[in-house]
């Protein structure tokens, strides 16, 4: 599946990769708002060309810096033309020593003998690779090894020929001996017997909570990792045309991710150079606590423009953040053309309206839509798609087969299959999703007892904050739409059912003199006549701009309609049900509100050309009532004429 709308992001990755390896490290590039799909795409571009490691830092359990380094070393160690096979013997020695829980920490001589015996017993380089792989086992690769396409035969031969020769040329003893010796000096001029450092390493690892043991252990392992990488790259580091090796870190905003990246940046700030390009993804911003000088946020399509110079050799910040833009309609259309050429061209429009550019959501929905044998005559195509079961997962995974809606929900909540579904949080979010703004949602949650101060967590507040767009008339994000569907699916008479929640929210809006909010929730409750009556009353009274702004906010109200008939018909039915004369001003405005309300719902049917034609006609007719600025309504009419063509 091709990833759309990420060209600039890939360009940024290339910019950090092409920073000279023997110079200051480039900033850590953090993509906000996107996750696996982007890094998987980048990994696909790197695979077989540049050494890279793709690791998910959102793993459960208690992995730490050592496990992350093992995973990085293991994945970076795949053969690659021009780079050969990178080996990490120093890191492997460290792990071997750390894993020995029987080391006698009371008898130094005995400990020395034990370490020497241990290293002597693990002489094979193959064993070193196995050691690292075992250490990395708790951290899943972003791309499982079984899915990675192996190098072509010729490329693999070229890439591994020297590695194998080196393996023959270097006896195992020689390799491990040199790695062991490194622990004596660790690249500095001060030397001590390596075995002494290794004994301390074991001590630090077995008592990480004691003093600065964990920090010392991690620093030493980072140094070993860097030394291995530098030694493995050799003179390639000085060739300007050879890009840096790449580390792709998913879920950098987890506790583990923050720790690892903070350590890396700290070491870089301390003068430690590493020949890596680090690219991370985070669901939400996590660097707000850092000084502004240490970070920079890029605008859409803004390049990094990294350049060498300055007396301190560095001009760029330690972190660069890039909020990933959503897919545009054009991106979605091109994606459909590329990946789903047989799909009804109107379905992607529905998908885009629902997913709001979220690449994974778009991809999931389009793939599922491609499997639908036929579409209903009326609407609710997306409902059909969301209700479909996803393809059965491979037998050797823990993945559970669920509906597209559930999969999407998990994805948007950032929960893997291994994580239990946060039912309680989701129920709270579902109730709160009915609110028109985030503030109202929080008020609702706390005021209604749904959310107690004790139960309030940073994660929930982060999720809540993300459910409402900044612009009041902007469409809701896909997670909120899913939550609203869950709300609509609750029993009609439930205390936190659709009606109860919207009525409560309407009351609160009325109490706050929030007329727009009142109308919004009234419309959600199906009170079309009342809402249309307001707009009829204010047509020609309020300035066109205000009238339209309110109208646009109100018609974003959620629906719990089934959409049994085509949208134009449904709009007529809803309008007729209010009893308004279709040819009267009230009738037209009622029809207009109904049509706009349906048009704002991605679950409304795909046959929307007539719907938008009707909106166009009604806008033109209503425009005559606005003496101050008819052009605004005429412009709206034109917009809907264009949309009608899109939906035709």
């Amino acid at each position: 599946m091709t990833l759309f709308g990420r060209r600039h992001a890939v360009g940024l990755v290339r910019e950090v990769m092409t920073c000279p390896q023997d110079g200051p490290a480039p900033p850590v590039l953090v993509f906000e708002g996107g996750r696996t799909a982007l890094l998987t795409g980048v990994a696909g571009l790197l695979d077989g060309r540049v050494p890279y490691a793709h690791v998910d830092l959102g793993a459960q359990g208690r992995p730490g810096t050592p496990e992350v380094l093992y995973a990085l070393a293991f994945h970076l160690g795949r053969p690659c033309p021009l780079y050969g096979t990178l080996r990490f013997p120093r890191l492997a020695v460290g792990k071997l020593v750390m894993d020995d829980t029987t080391l006698d920490l009371h008898d130094r001589d005995a400990a020395r003998r034990q370490i020497n015996d241990l290293l002597r017993a693990h002489r094979g380089i193959d064993q070193m690779v196995t050691t690292l792989r075992e250490g990395a086992g708790t951290l899943p690769a972003g791309l499982p090894a079984s899915v990675q396409t192996p190098l072509g035969l010729a490329a693999r031969f070229l890439a591994t020929a020297l590695g194998r020769l080196a393996r023959w040329t270097w006896s195992s003893r020689f390799v491990l001996g040199r790695a062991q010796k490194w622990y004596g000096a660790q690249g500095s001029s001060h030397r001590r017997p390596p075995v002494e450092t290794l004994i301390e390493l074991n001590q630090w690892h077995r008592r990480p909570n004691l003093g600065t043991n964990a920090r010392q252990r991690d620093d030493l392992l980072w140094a070993a990792f860097r030394a291995d990488l530098t030694a493995g790259l050799g003179r390639r580091r000085h060739r300007s045309w050879i890009p840096r090796c790449v580390v792709l870190l998913d879920n950098a905003d987890t506790r583990l991710g923050r720790n690892v990246l903070t350590e890396l940046v700290r070491l870089r700030a301390g003068g430690e150079h590493d020949p890596l390009a680090v690219v991370a993804t985070a669901r939400e911003p996590f660097l707000d606590h850092l000084p502004a000088a240490e970070q920079r946020t890029l605008a859409a399509d803004e390049p990094l423009a990294l350049a060498r110079s300055g007396p301190d050799g560095r001009r760029w910040p330690r972190w660069v953040r890039y909020p990933l833009p959503g897919l545009t309609e054009e991106d979605t259309t091109r994606k459909v053309t590329a990946d789903h050429p047989r799909l009804d061209h109107r379905i992607p429009l529905l998908v885009q309206q629902f997913a709001q550019g979220n690449p994974l959501a778009v991809g999931l929905l389009l793939e599922a839509a491609d499997e639908v044998p036929s579409w209903p005559a009326g609407g609710n195509e997306l409902g059909l798609v969301l209700a479909r079961l996803e393809p059965p997962p491979p037998d050797d995974t823990d993945r559970v087969q669920c509906t597209i809606a559930e999969r999407l929900c998990r994805h948007l909540l950032g929960r893997d299959d291994r994580d239990p579904f946060p039912d309680d949080e989701v129920e709270t979010l579902t109730t709160c999703a009915a609110a028109r703004t985030g503030e109202q949602a929080l008020t609702l949650a706390v005021g209604s007892g749904l959310l107690t101060p004790d139960g309030y967590t940073g994660e929930l507040s982060t999720l809540l904050a993300g459910l409402w767009p900044t612009a009041p008339d902007a469409a809701p994000p896909p997670l909120r739409r899913l939550l609203l569907r869950r709300l609509a699916a609750r029993p009609a008479d439930a205390e936190t059912g659709w009606r109860a929640v919207h009525e409560r929210l309407r009351r609160e809006c009325a109490e706050r003199a929030d007329r727009t909010g009142e109308l919004y929730h009234a419309l959600a409750l199906g009170e079309l006549g009342r809402v249309a009556g307001y707009f009829t009353e204010r047509a020609g009274v309020d300035p066109a701009r205000e009238w339209l702004a309110t109208l646009h906010e109100v018609v974003q109200a959620p629906t719990n309609l089934d959409h049994p008939v085509p949208p134009a018909d449904e709009a007529h039915r809803l309008a007729r049900a209010t009893g308004a004369d279709p040819d009267s001003r009230l009738g037209r405005i009622t029809r207009l509100v109904a049509a706009l309300w349906l048009a704002a719902d991605p679950f409304t049917g795909r046959h929307r050309a007539d719907l938008h034609d009707g909106i166009k006609r009604d806008y033109r007719a209503i425009a005559l009532q606005f003496h101050d600025d008819q052009s605004r309504l005429v412009a709206e009419a034109t917009t809907h004429r264009v949309r009608a063509e899109q939906w035709r």
Binding site: L3, T40, G44, L45, W241, R334, A338
Partner: protein
Amino acid sequence: MAVNSRNGTSPVADVPPDHLAPRVPRLRTVLRRSAVVLSVVVLVAAGAAVVHRVAVSCGPVRSGLTRVDGECVGVLTDVGSHPFSDDLRSVQDAIDRENAWVDAQYRADPGGNRYVRVALFSPMTATAHSFMTADQVRHTVQGAYVAQRRANHTPDFDDPRPLVQLVLANPGSRQAQWPRVVRALERMTDDRHPLVAVIGMGTSITATRDAARYLSASATDLPMIAGVATTDEFRDITGFVRTSPSNTDYVRALADYLAGHRELRTGMLVYDDSEPDLYVRDLRSAYERHLRRYLTVPAKSYFGAADPENRTQLFATIQDSVCNAPRPDLILYAGRALDLDDFVRSLALRGCRDPISILVGATGLSPLEELVPTLVEGRITIVNAAAGHPSWFTADSHPPGSVPDGLPPFLAAFRAEKIGEPGALADGYGPTHHDAMATAVMAIRAVAPGLPRDEVPRAGNVRGQLMNLNNSSTVPGAGGTLTFTTDRKADPIGKWVPITVIPPATDAPTRRPYVTTG
């Protein structure tokens, strides 16, 4: 879900699949591609070379032999690995067994049983255009083998150490591949069991001369002991000796015969005018030098076996000339034995019937029993000065008349080996190459006493002993007790050159044969 770009498609729209790949500098790309191309070319060339090697090899790939123009040429050290012909299979197997025995002796006592190698450089294949017949090729190898056996198992050639292996070096039926063969021989002089002498050298043609001159000038100092190369021109080649009479020796023997046959006074020289026949040219020159007073009739020429493209079956002009006045009673024949049959038959058809004698100097004529009726009818007598007499090689264990001292033990050894068919010795190739091998062994063993026990002679040492094979150190050859001196250079002293008159062919010589002197 496509996760990589190795199949040519990019996982990210509007991003080329190689967007993140290293941008290899053009020169490096060119160099890399050139290296790849070069590697492929080298591999293909190596593969082709291997295929070619397999295709042109004779026997095992590492036999040392190469197929050239349908013949297997080169140096065969593993003598049993590739029989040059069915004719040679038996004697090659015998040599292989002897060589294996020598090596086994060495392995059992490396310090006491060091050994050296001697190469028999001679055509191993015979064709319609070759200078040696298949029988002569076979007899050559047989003679050398018998000498090897005597050298390794008897005290006939002095101290039985060092032992000797025999290897076969084939320059081709017309000796055209001599360059590659002599180079291979040169490389063998530095082996642990070094090559220390070359025997045989083939017939008297330019190829033999060129090979001999090459080895003479070679830094390896390989000595050469020829068996049938009789051309006088070879006398002055340093490091070269022969166990056969020279052409001059043949002519002197014939002169000695004519001295006892004063009725023969009018002679006509008939010579082979084909190139590159050194023997014929040289023999003609010897006739002209030593029998000039007999050449009273203008000479006649023909194109013989040496030039297969210009071969003539009939000697029409010569046939007519012998009946013109002055009629010759002698024909001094300077041609190859291969053409003699045709000449005799043509001469027998001459119009006149005066007796005529054909004088021939040759190592050994092929058996001429079939020709005797023609000779009788045509009143033709062949007077052949040869390296041996037919009576020496009958079934009798004691040849009649005087024979060289070394002949009876040679005959006994030859018969004991059961390597030759009846009449194998008649053409003289066996005995003369036996003597060549014996000479080489004597020279080798003349060096050995002066060396430490675990050392072996080198080629240069052996060459230095050739001219010391005299006085108390003579070669007990089948064709005479041979000595070599600087005065005679390549030509042996003590070589018997008996005269055979045909008919009759089997009578013992009636007079004491000519023996070469210093």
